[in-house]
């Protein structure tokens, strides 16, 4: 038993530390989240460093026609652990290269859409004056037909961006922007709904009495309390971005065709599903695994951020 009279200096006293440490402490105890984190790290590692370790070029087709024909549609083997595709390209290399693009696009586009959605949702929910105009904007974006919008964006921006940042970076920016800009609305509406309810809480009133400016009121009192729907949106957002990216590629709005991405590999292989099931399973599993691991990380983070359920 520690018996502490009102001592002014207390050796055992822990200074209040950054709340993120608490979050991390709690996060560490969440099994699912840890496994998710590890898997996600492995995936990241695999797609970022894998290509260096696995020296095969994902777009390499054997120029010798006879060889190439032999190499087509191979099952798993030592030389090609994941087999080869219809042009004899190495699937392992393709999945890794595809992952790089898909995850980069998925993460950044999700972050962008989350940022936009949260920002707009919070502004609309918190500031009554902005509500009307922001929600009209949300309605507008919700009702814009996606395809023509994307087509227009690509028409307008692809060349300038490619010229400025180089083809790949330019297209990357364009895709991330396109997906981000067209997928924030759901988050915005959800966040707004929650904020509408949250801002009537007494502790928000209390914060106002302290003179906390609205900006920080939002950051400190409102945002942390809408964390869980945001986390869900984040997980769903990644999946959505990965799939949308592939849809963009089919339309020719995405990366050049020799740029494998998970979504595209999956789509291309659907017709051949019966003949070469591995070719759909690989990208499918990759996407699902990524989304699942992000989901568990999100779950863990959500739990960790809620002081009430800490200690479980």
């Amino acid at each position: 038993m520690t018996d502490l009279p009102a001592a002014k200096v207390d050796a055992a006293l822990r200074p209040p530390r950054n709340q993120w440490w608490d979050v991390w402490d709690q996060f560490k105890t969440h099994k699912g989240a840890l496994i998710g984190l590890i898997i996600f790290a492995l995936i990241l590692f695999g797609v970022a460093l894998g290509p260096f370790l696995w020296g095969i070029d994902p777009t390499y087709v054997d120029p010798n026609p006879v060889q190439m024909l032999k190499l087509r549609n191979q099952g798993p083997s030592l030389a090609h652990p994941f087999g080869t595709d219809q042009l004899g390209r190495d699937m392992l290399a393709r999945v890794m290269a595809g992952g790089k693009v898909s995850i980069a696009v998925g993460l950044t586009a999700m972050l962008l859409s989350l940022f936009l959605g949260t920002l707009i949702g919070v502004l609309a929910g918190f500031f009554r004056r902005l509500d009307g105009i922001l929600m009209s904007a949300t309605d507008l974006f919700l009702s814009l037909p996606l395809l023509p919008l994307l087509l227009l964006m690509v028409t307008l921006f692809r060349e300038p961006l490619s010229q400025r940042f180089g083809t790949e970076a330019g297209i990357f920016l364009l895709i991330v922007f396109a997906i981000g800009v067209t997928s924030w609305m759901q988050t915005a509406r959800i966040v707004r709904g929650e904020v509408l309810a949250l801002k009537e809480r007494e502790y928000v009133l209390a914060a106002r009495s302290i003179g906390t400016p609205s900006r920080r009121m939002v950051l400190r009192h409102v945002l942390p309390n809408v964390m869980s729907p945001i986390m869900v949106s984040a997980t769903l957002g990644i999946a959505n971005a990965i799939i949308t990216e592939s849809a963009l590629s089919f339309l020719g709005l995405g990366f050049p065709p020799d740029f494998p991405t998970w979504g595209r590999i999956l789509f291309d292989a659907v017709d051949q599903m019966q003949l070469y099931p591995l070719r759909v399973i690989l990208p499918g599993v990759a996407i699902s695994l990524t989304v699942l691991s992000v989901n568990y990380i999100g779950d863990g983070l959500r739990d960790a951020l809620d002081p009430r359920i800490r200690g479980r």
Binding site: L205, I210, G211, R310
Partner: protein
Amino acid sequence: MLDRPAPAARRKLVEVKGLKMYFPITAGILRRKVGDVKAVDDVSFDIYEGETLGLVGESGCGKSTCGRVILRLYDPTAGSIRIDGTDITETDSETLRKLRPAMQMVFQDPQASLNPRMTVAAIIGEPLDEHSRLSKAEKLNRIYELMDAVGLNRNFANRYPHEFSGGQRQRIGIARALALNPKFIVCDEPIAALDVSIQAQVVNLLEDLQDRMNLTYLFISHDLSMVRHIADRVAVMYLGRIVELAPRDALYERPMHPYTQALLSAVPEPDPEIETVRKRIILTGDVPSPANPPKGCNFCTRCPKVMDICRAVKPPFREVEPGRYTACHLYEDTTTAGRTGAPEAFTSTQQGV
């Protein structure tokens, strides 16, 4: 306390005139407005710099609302509020924010007014973040000081509100309000949830601060004995209106308004011998609702001394003796009413002490 200068000579820090705060009553899915809850209905009073104004009254009579409107946490329906010379009824939020450090509030419900996702240190530190430029260490020091001051163990700094007992939470709220050395604090039942020892500690602290820094309090409480201890003047509210406002001693010795008399008679005494035999004025009659107050005096439905005029005409709130204000038809004629108003009931309870 008599060692202080007479209130009248001092500067008015808070001036409230004709303040009204109505909440809409709504009905149906689309919530049509069908009426108003007149939570605060035409209230005027001043608080002098350095004094404590006690605000007592029946539960639900509008005390909290009154306190909140004064700090512009609600936008008043009508009336004006001046704090330290500035009219804050209409100011924009940024100016208001700048004024906030000078006026603070301790909330009635500690659980609801603390953000469940912030640690105690963060909660108490928030006003410091907003309005001061202390270094990290200085801030921490100040937080510890405040926690000591309200009797919270420093080891609690990393805990979250739900991990505390009711009283402990209340103290967090008090520490938060004190953080910025405000000039004026609205204390909405700051001590209700505390045990007596801590109550004393907090009240002593409030008084200390007042002495040192010339603080001004609006002290809302049900604890009449504590009000008696801390307040310089006391206002009694009933159903959205102030029915009596008087210097503390005068009020406790000789309450004028029948409601005040009833109120004082009901205070329990921490002594079973007395408590079991003490007599009280038991109020009977319908308690009107603030949505639909009676036509005449708000208290007419329960007043033991009700007259015909009470049911028809609202008594004005006027000075009946120097420094004593009341809204009651009994004191229409200041001199005679003062005498006749001295109630037997009250004297009898006084005898019990």
